[in-house]
């Protein structure tokens, strides 16, 4: 099962903090890949928080094609972060790794945020399609204040390969996954965390309800609900669908993916609404075991399980610095100074939500409501 490490903080952190945590959980990943998503960027990208960042990998030809396309689409390059690659045994180097900051096309300057988001999504999907057949272009995200890095290999070695220790790449929210490959081929697009329009998530476990969920999402008429090289990508898209498309408060994500049974449901104040939801969103019910760690556009982070997840993940930390990890040893590595007795192991009905800047940690229980653990 993949290993997951996320940290949310009120100050900028180096991504190696999370990679170090992955290393402590090494027995759980097989070096088949690492994914990193950085949100609320610091370092050399701090001043570009309003501009979309295109993260990806290209061959030489692919880079030319990509730049041509973006230029003709009206995007203007403002800044570029490229890792200072260091040769590491076992990591196969590709031609270009990049995080390019663009300015929107002129005609989009006064457009709404929604329209800009649609443009970015369409552009990312087009670039993905352009490079998918020959592998010349791989794009992970195209969104303001987000950088995504993915590559095949051992997380620690990849950190060294990308020179992350010395790079000026920092962020307040860092999500990292060390893969235990459960797909048939090792594919960069199958590597977590997944991202769509400000929402991101990573998962460990097996999504047994993948096909019906994929068919439901793919038929929503929204271009972004596509890809699905990994069965876990649907968790990110369910999050996006529930919160952005349907406008539900974040904690209802739990009720969407793991709805209460009829008897439990009757105990809730909002049981009437839940009954409707449970029926209409039946195809989005997950049937794990899964732990999902995610973030939303405002910088809230969360962890949630389904009932079959026998060994829960853990959330813990100190005010201003909270980790969400799949194993306790990872949390110990990230935030050793915390009071471990207050660590939260979310159970069947729980969803742990960490506020932006890790100022508050609250647990939403489907049966009993909110409990504040840290504020």
């Amino acid at each position: 099962m993949c290993r997951l490490a996320a940290i949310t903080s009120n100050e900028y952190l180096n991504p190696m903090e999370c990679i170090g945590a992955l290393e402590t959980m090494h027995e759980g990943h097989d070096g088949s890949g690492m994914g990193l998503v950085l949100k609320n960027l610091g370092g050399e990208l701090a001043e570009f928080s309003d501009y979309p960042v295109l993260s990806g990998i290209c061959s030489k030809d692919g880079l030319y094609t990509l730049e041509e396309y973006l230029f003709h689409a009206g995007f203007r390059l403002k800044h570029q972060w490229r890792p200072a690659l260091k040769p590491v045994k076992g990591v196969k180097r590709r031609d270009h790794y990049f995080a390019k900051v663009y300015d929107y096309p002129e005609e989009y300057e006064d457009r709404s945020r929604e329209e800009k988001e649609e443009l970015l999504l369409e552009t990312r999907l087009t670039l993905r399609r352009m490079g998918e057949a020959n592998g010349s272009i791989t794009v992970f995200s195209f969104y303001p204040d987000i950088v995504t890095i993915k590559e095949v290999g051992d997380p620690l070695q990849l950190g060294e390969f990308f020179g992350l220790t010395d790079s000026r790449l920092e962020a307040k929210i860092i999500f990292a996954q060390g893969r235990q490959n459960t797909n048939y081929d090792i594919n960069l697009y199958a590597c977590h965390p997944f991202f769509i329009q400000g929402f991101g998530s990573m998962t460990n476990g097996e999504n047994t309800a993948f096909v019906p969920i994929r068919e439901f999402l793919a038929s929503r008429g929204f271009a972004g609900y596509s890809g699905y090289v990994s069965d876990s990508e649907v968790f990110t898209h369910i999050l996006h669908y529930a919160v952005k498309k349907l406008g539900y408060p974040l904690h209802y994500y739990k009720d969407v993916i793991t709805p209460l049974g009829e008897d439990d449901l009757k105990r809730r104040e909002d049981s009437e609404a839940l009954s409707l939801m449970r029926v209409a969103l039946r195809p989005l019910c997950i049937d794990g075991p899964n732990v999902i760690i995610g973030f939303t556009p405002d910088g809230s982070c969360f962890m949630v399980h389904d009932a079959k997840k026998l060994r829960p993940g853990v959330v813990g930390g100190v005010r201003g610095r909270v980790g969400l990890v799949s194993e306790e040893c990872g949390l110990e590595s990230m935030i050793p100074e915390r009071e471990s007795a207050k660590d939260i192991f979310p159970m069947k009905y729980d969803m742990v939500i960490v506020s932006p800047g890790a100022q508050e940690v609250r647990v939403w229980n489907q049966l009993y409501g909110w409990t504040t653990i840290m504020n």
Binding site: A209, F216, S219, Y248, A280, P283, I286
Partner: protein, 553 residues
Amino acid sequence: MESAVRLDHNHELTVKDLPYIVLWREDRCKRCGRCTAVCPMYAIEPSVVTRREVSSEEASPTPKVTRKTVIVVRQTTDIERYCTGCGACTLVCPNDAIEPVFNPQHKFLFHKNPGGHPYRRGGRRNDPRESTLDHLKFTRISMLTDPALDAGRHEFRIRTYLGRILSPEEMPLRVKDGKLEVMTGNSRFVPPVREIYPVMIGSMSVGALSPTMWEGLAMGITYLNEVDRMPVVMASGEGGIPPRLLKSRFIKYFILQIASGYFGWDEIIRAIPDMADDPCAIEIKYGQGAKPGDGGLLMAEKVTKLISEIRGVPQGVDLPSPPTHQTKYSIEESVAKMIQAMSMAFGFRVPVFPKISGTRTARAVLNNLLRNPYAGGLSIDGEEGGTGAAYNVSLDKMGHPIASNIRDCYLDLCRQGRQNELPLIAAGGVGKKGGLAANAAALIMLGASAVSVGKYMMQAAAGCFGDEMNRCNVCNIGKCPRGITTQDPKLYRRLDPEKVAERVVEVFRSLDVELRKIFAPLGRSTELPIGMSDALCADDADIAERLQIGYVC
């Protein structure tokens, strides 16, 4: 002078022409007469024959001839009284002296049309081969990161929904103080939805079934609901249900059917003000998998006093239902108007859905229903569905297999993003080879929201003799030897409704365990795996390709 016909019997059939040959063992028979008395077809009869015996008791041959008159059991070769192979004779014989044996060389269909009347019968398609469903198996076993669930101990929820489901975008929900609430006032109509067990008992009418059989089924599902908390429902078939049941609170476990004869509906409509609860749903029958294009027919012999009261018709007359709903011009109009009318009659509190025969045009009906906001589902009855009476040619050659029909419809719904909005109910040949749970689970994974079974229930709960070798299959003539499809008190008193009810409960309990044994290794327990086609594979490449699932060998 004797005619040549009388001498050589040239225009008579031989037992070799018949589908079943009765093997009678003279040495075991004590001539009690039970077999001939029980035979529903009078295919065997006591007869007297003269035998010539030659014996010799001396050391050298001194033959003596004696003639004896003995009683034998003789099989008739009259095609109207052919042996159906039901085996009631074997059942009652105290000495194992008699049994019918299938004759693969028979020429039954060449002769079973005396008077120019084509062969009519009950049962299902006479095709003993495995159905498509029996070629499917569950191959996606969770072995990697997901330890398979414990079917015995894990919490399972095997339920489905019947009724029109709004799309998530259409739901009248709003956020208030961080909570979702249902909008009141001028918000959208929320159609009624029932949460039921995904396997239901399909439409078999009071009339087609004997009173004891129908009562047994009804008691069985009531027990399952009231005691076992399994929300199993049962469809009434055409012709209404007994008035006391109509006005009882147990009506909620029944789906009332309206078909083209509208039999029983005067009584139902009159009972609406006195109903203690709403029925589970209303099924509008447009077609039946066993006999596409035919209406129902209840023979005069079956129209007893009880039936005539329930149906609101005179006693002892044939009750044919037309093949189509005569008051409507087209199925589109018919579906729209009848769904609307039925919904209105029950105050829009009861899901209303049509049932059609499996057909290549099922998707057209489906898309028509999608545009009707009151349509609560679509039931498709495949070619292997059973019936109480139909022409053999309809049973054997008409219709569409359910597997590909359901799959096509489900994938069509997926293309439109409406796979959760209109539940598909699959029927026709489910459990044909006894694998009820496996067949039902396969249909669910192909896209059905629920599965309906009729023939299987008669076989499992009441020991129906019928099979796909044309055994018995005389449901149409009211002479069911088990007492299942007859209105003759002498026959239906053989069937104990309590035992039928007990068997219904046993069948559903065991089905529930088997469904868990299927779902658990696939890692599914929380929701019904509707459309989970990655779990299914076929052992036949053509079937796999047609159903868009994997092929394994």
